[in-house]
Each structure stands twice: as C-alpha cells, then as structure tokens.
Symmetry: C2
Subunit: 444 residues, 2 copies
C-alpha cells in the first residue's frame, strides 16, 4: 500500500477561530460540554481519523471575557471520550513543568488501559509566568531549564512505564501468585530534577507508553522532539516553511539515531470549505469581522512583550521589538508572528485577523477539491506526513471536512477507509516500544 496520510482533529469547542462562539447556531458552552466533545470525536472516528487532541495549560489562558476560557482537564475528558468511542486515538496535552512524573505517568498509563491502547501525550513545557504563579513560583523557569526538566521527566516516565514487564501478571489462583514480583521493579531514579523510587502502580499498558507527541518549534524544542517525539504538531504558515521544518525534524531524528519514519510531522491547517472558492473566502472574512480587537491587541502585546499602547491597529508592528533571545516564553511563536507581519507588510489589524483564524497555522480556503489538492501537494512534496486539522468553526468545520474532503482523499488512495489496527500507534504506523529489561538484555 502506498504511503498514507494521517489526520488529527484539534478539539477546540466552537472552533479554532476566536470569534467562532459568536456565530449564530454555535454552542457557546461547548467548552464544558461532554456531549459537544462526544459529537466531535465521533465525527472524526467515523471519518477514520488517527486521533483527536486537546491543547492545555494549567492557567486561565485567555481573558474570560473574550472567548470561552474554561477548559476541562484533558486526561479526564479523554477518559470520558474513551467510553464514547472505540478506535480513534486520544491525545492529551500535559505540562512537564507543572506536574510530577509519578502522577502524570500514571494518568497516561491509566488512560491507555481505559482506552485499550489509544492514549497519546502532547508533551509541553508551558510558556508564561502566569502558569508558574499557580505553582508557587514568581517567574517561569528559563526556557532551557524547562526543556532540561522535560528531558528528565521523560526519562523518569519511560522508566516507570517499563517498571512492570509485559508478562509480569500471571494471576495463578492455585499458587496464589498474582504477579511475578521479580518482573516488577523499582526504578530508583535520582537526577537533577527528580528522585522517584517506583515501581509504578499501574502495570504496563497496551501501548506500553502513550504515543509521545510534541509541539515546540524552538531549537531546544526541535532537539527534544528529535529525541523523544513520535509525532510533531507544528504551525507553519507557508509551504516553504513546512518543507524546511519537515526536513529539519527528519534530519535531527536521524542524527539522534532514530528512524526518521518514526517521527510523524503534522502541520496544523485551518480548512475553510465552501461550495465555491468565493464562498470559502466570504466565510473566512466574516469570521475576522467578529474578532473584538481590544482583546486581540492585548494578547499580541503580551506575546511580543511590548506595551499594548504601542500597537496601533492601522500601522505596522514597531521596529524595536524584543528579540527571541530576550523572551522566556514561547520563543518560536514570537518569531513566527514577527516574520510574518514583516514579510507580508501587515498592519496590526491585518495581523490580528490572520492570527485570530489560524494563529500561525496555514488556512486552506477553497472548495473540497481544492483543499484535498493542497493537502496532497504538501504530503507529496516533503512538507507533511499528515495534518492537524483545526477547523475555524466547529462542529460544522469537521463535518464538512469529513463529509467532503476525506472521501476525495480516500478515493485517491491516500487515506484509509477502515481502521486496520486497534492502537493509536498502529494508526500512525509506529512500533510499540520494546521493554527496557528486554532492550537491556536483562531478561535475554
């Protein structure tokens, strides 16, 4: 079979566009609604998507005045969705900066058991001082320190997931032995950030580890992805940038001694689908008109670390912005925004419009065939192994994509018409992690 596309649905209540909740017919309480999420996950599963995904940060992310700001905790919401679905993968974002590895490794192992092997973890280091201030810190740890902690967090987590051998449980009623104790081992990890004895109190799960996903695009972020990630989300506004990123990640993975095919690159796209190209463009424009500029300016100013007063709606960005090096938050996002504004000579208002919709992700507006063509073009030209689908408006955006774009790609032999495997890793064509005892030859 030829190389196949992979699709992830970004579950974002009323849609990725910040004004989507204001459209007539939207459910402005979708962010807290189990039923709304069940519907989205089922539409994606019916369309044979690889996975659904929930973004997250342990902080009130946006001004609650502006758009639905409450977010249910992703591992819990996905545990609920595990019951409402049967095949689709379930990827939760969780922070390595504001969790303890024992607790988080356990939650993902539990989700993997509950879902029969469908758990994924989008590993983030969490930018911003506001999050730090919910955890006893005054300022966020340095960007580099956050990635160092993330690396050790993954070392501990993978040791915990390997603390039970796959065949530890024997459940022998006659002898009264439930597990072979010698196949359940303390990990006795002691490092710079963590000391964890283990073993985990959850046996090895169907996938062994949740699928490891990553979304940081700075140099440190890419290095981390090359070492640990099996799937990478990324925001790339142009084809050329997607190609550059794709090549860079595959090269780094190879340099780290891994098979580049075992790192699936998934740029985000915001599909805006119309019966005609003109209708798609009109939908796009209508959404931008609904953005409330006062909030958007405040967010932009925060990301760029500049006084909001200095951002004038009908002027370009100021020249003297802080550089990426001076920013400890989301470095790559700052650079993406600034480069984009300068390259396309955008005013602040125009920039806000673009960010409100795709937030740096590529908007594909057009007819179903045009959208399918662009997807195929990226896929066949070294820019993507699949896509993170981030509809501007939900549920209509995914209903349209599933109903009108997916069948075209299936027809072209580029996307599955049935699930073949049962686990999330099988959907993405990735191997199940071998057990550490076995890798180390200890049980050979």
């Amino acid at each position: 079979m030829s190389r196949q596309l992979h699709f992830n649905l970004f579950l974002h209540d009323t849609g990725h566009h910040e004004a989507s909740w204001r459209l007539p017919g939207s459910d402005p309480h979708a962010n807290l609604s189990l039923a709304a999420h069940q519907h989205l996950a089922r539409v994606a599963e019916d369309a044979k998507f690889d996975s659904v995904f929930l973004a997250d940060s342990p902080v009130l992310w946006s001004d609650p005045g502006r758009r639905p700001a409450g977010k249910l905790e992703p591992t819990l919401l996905l545990a609920a969705l595990a019951v409402s679905t049967s095949r689709i993968g379930l990827i939760a974002t969780a922070s390595t900066s504001y969790n303890e590895p024992f607790n988080l490794a356990r939650r993902f192992a539990s989700l993997d058991h509950l879902s029969g092997g469908r758990a994924g973890w989008n590993i983030v280091t969490t930018a911003g001082d506001a999050a730090a201030r919910n955890f006893g810190l005054q300022d966020q740890p340095l960007h580099r320190t956050r990635y160092e902690r993330a690396d050790e967090f993954l070392q501990v987590s993978t040791k915990l997931w390997d603390s039970w051998a796959d065949d530890a449980i024997v459940a022998d009623r006659t002898s009264g032995v439930h597990a072979r104790s010698e196949l359940v081992r303390a990990i006795n990890h002691s490092g710079e950030f963590f000391r964890v004895d283990g073993a985990l109190n959850v046996p090895r799960s169907p996938q062994a580890y949740p699928l490891l996903v990553q979304a940081g695009s700075s140099a440190d972020g890419r290095g981390f992805a090359a070492k640990w990630a099996e799937a990478v989300f990324t925001a790339q506004p142009t084809l050329a940038e997607s190609q550059e990123f794709y090549a860079d990640i595959k090269r780094r993975a190879a340099e780290a001694g891994r098979d580049p095919d075992h790192v699936v690159v998934l740029p985000g796209i915001v599909p805006v689908i119309g019966a005609t190209a003109a209708e798609a463009r009109e939908l796009d424009a209508e959404l931008d008109r609904l953005i409330a500029p006062q909030y958007a300016v405040a967010t932009l100013a925060h990301t760029l670390r500049v006084d909001p007063e200095r951002l004038r709606l009908d002027e370009p960005l100021p020249d003297d912005l802080p550089s990426e090096d001076e920013i400890e938050g989301a470095k790559s996002r700052r650079t993406l925004i600034v480069d984009w504004a300068r390259r396309d000579h955008l005013t602040v208002r125009q920039l806000i419009g673009k960010l409100g919709g795709g937030r740096g992700h590529r908007t594909f507006a057009g007819t179903p065939v045009q959208v399918a063509d662009t997807i195929q073009h990226y896929f066949e030209n070294g820019a993507a192994d699949g896509f993170n689908i981030m509809p501007a408006v939900l549920p209509s955006g995914i209903e349209k994509f599933a109903g009108e774009v997916v069948p075209i790609l299936q027809e072209r032999g580029l996307f599955r018409t049935e699930y073949r495997g049962t686990t999330l890793r099988e959907h993405y064509g990735l191997p199940r992690p071998a057990h550490r005892f076995v890798r180390e030859g200890a049980l050979a």
Copy 2:
C-alpha cells in the same frame, strides 16, 4: 419523610477480601478493567446507591505477588464511569501530600462538570515513606505537618472553586462578551505551603465543590473532618466503637460551628450474605483459608513497625509494640489493630484472618434479613447515617446486597426507591456550598 440511609459502594476489583481474586469465577484482571468497574457502578446505581468510591495511594500499595496491585488513577476511571452511569455519585481518593492544589482542584471541577454534579473527593494525607519516595522525599512529612498541609490545600482549593461566580458566564454573542471578567477573580493565595494566583481555568461546577469526604480517624484526622468533611468513612469493628466515633464527629462538627447533620458518618461494613446463617459463616471461613500468610504477616509487621520475625502465627502480638505516638503513618489503624487483638485475645493468625476480610471494618455475616436488621440497628442507635459497603467478593457481593438486602430496607421505608436529586450532594441531603463572594457580602 423519615430519616433515610445512605449507601456508598467501595469499588475494589474482585472484592475487599485480599484472597477474593483466587475464588473460581473471579476476574483476576478486574482491577484494570473498565467493563468490570462499569458493571459494579451500574449494579449500585440500579440499587439507588448514593455513590461509588475508589481508594488510592500514589505508590505500589501491596506486594504485586499477593493480590492485584495495579490501580487505575481514580479521577480518570470515574470520568469514564460518568459516561456509563447517569445518577450515582463518583468519589475519588486523592492525596493532599503529593498533589498541587491547582491541578487537583481542576481535576475535581472537571469531573463535576463531566458528570453533571456527581463528583466527590476522599481527601487523604497518605501514610507511608514509600509514597514519599515517589515524590523526591526520603521520608514522609510528619503526621501533623501532613494535616497542616491538607488544611491549607483545602483553603486553596475552595478559593479556586469560588474564583468564578456562578453567573460569570453570559455568552452574549452581540457584544462579544463571553464572561463578565469582574466575576472571575484571581485568588492570590500565599500561605505556608502554597502560593497560587488563580483564577481556576474551569468555571464553577454544578456542585460548586466536589462532595468533601474524609477517612482519617486520628485526633488530627477527626479535627480535619469536623472542619471540612461532609461525609466521613471510618473503620469501626464494634457497635460501641461506632457509636463513640459517631458522637465524637458530630460533637466536633458542632464545636467547629457547623450543622452536625451536614457531616454524614459512614462506617465500613463487609456484608457476607448466605441463604442461612451457617452458609454465610462458611463463605467467610473459606475466604480466610485462601489468605497467603507470608504476605499478610509482612503487611501487619509494617503497619505495627515491628520486625516480621517477631510475629508468630500461633501466638499473640508481642507486648512491646511501638505506641501510636511513635508512628508517623496511619496512626489510627495501628491502634485499632492492637486494641482488637488484645481485647479478643487473638493470635497473629486469627488477627490476619479478620484483617484480610474486613481490615478493621465490621463484617456482617448472615441472611439478608439479619444483615438488614443490623444495618437498621446501627442506623437507629447513633452509630451511622449510612454505610460504606465493602463486599468481600465482587461482583457477587454487591449483586446479592442490591438484590436481597436493599429491597428489605426499601420496604421498611429506610432507603430510597428512586433518586430524587441529580447531584451527589442532593443524594446525601447536603446543601450546595454558597459562593464565597456572596458569603462575604461582596456582591450583596
């Protein structure tokens, strides 16, 4: 309507008896099985139980050789069960010693949203050095310190659950205002253990706070319960001890300025039901024969802080055991065990038999009418507001209790035949917490 009984089902895979997994027909993988838990919760819901409950500790609790030791993380498992049930309450145990308040308060608020107001939190401080060693510590914090942290943890959590007013969300499409920002407030908590800015990123949930449940029986534990708990689990081996405990908790609650009726006392019982009293006793004895003594001695020695070599199966406990004051772990459990062994002149083997079944909880063995009579007797004689039902063997133990004991109590007008409310607090007859802004008159 006359005063009504309340029932909670302790979800314990194959049953509370440590050898229950060895019985023919048991599912020795039930601890990791969503389906097994769904079945138990549905049986309890069909019988109109108030709630189901999951115990927990962030450590591999028992020797994995001895009985099923893996435990799915309770908040995730209950999020899944929220989808599989519609009315019954869902109580998860979580530790105040090894969590961050922002993360945990958020998980419980999320569970309450996902379940439509059915979340409960069994607040524990987690005894034992082994758990501490999964979180960077060498030894557990002192017993008193753990309860001090628990108290501040609850202060932070309740502030976070109050950080959104009930009517903060307006979702006004026309003006583009989703929430009234002035009704979403930072908490700016700064105390001995925690600094948390807030606000929470989850709006106020159906119940406002999860039902607050507690299970510590030491003096510090009872003081904490009197201040915070709305329901109390407890292990009391005799009627007299149950009465003493019941009176003490109600008195302490009144002293703390609370309505004693707003603290529901639920002793644990292990019902062993037979068609005849003799059959019930025989079932009880069979289970005890299946206990593997080498493991049980090790656990007992650990709880009593004594060298396992000093415990002889056919002799009484040694005289010179460490006192409760010398123990930083589960103080009240140590005392319960020692008092029981001395009072009833038990050998180590006999003690292990009793602990293996009820682990300090009262075993009620008999016919359905005898079990119902004992329940009624406790309920009407100042010993209980209801019970934490901990069947020795599952699912059969709850199927029998639901099918044979519950109808008798319903017939006698002591237990509901239909749910009246929709939230867990409504089941227990408890009021929804008023909002802090309102209590403080800030919005008056």
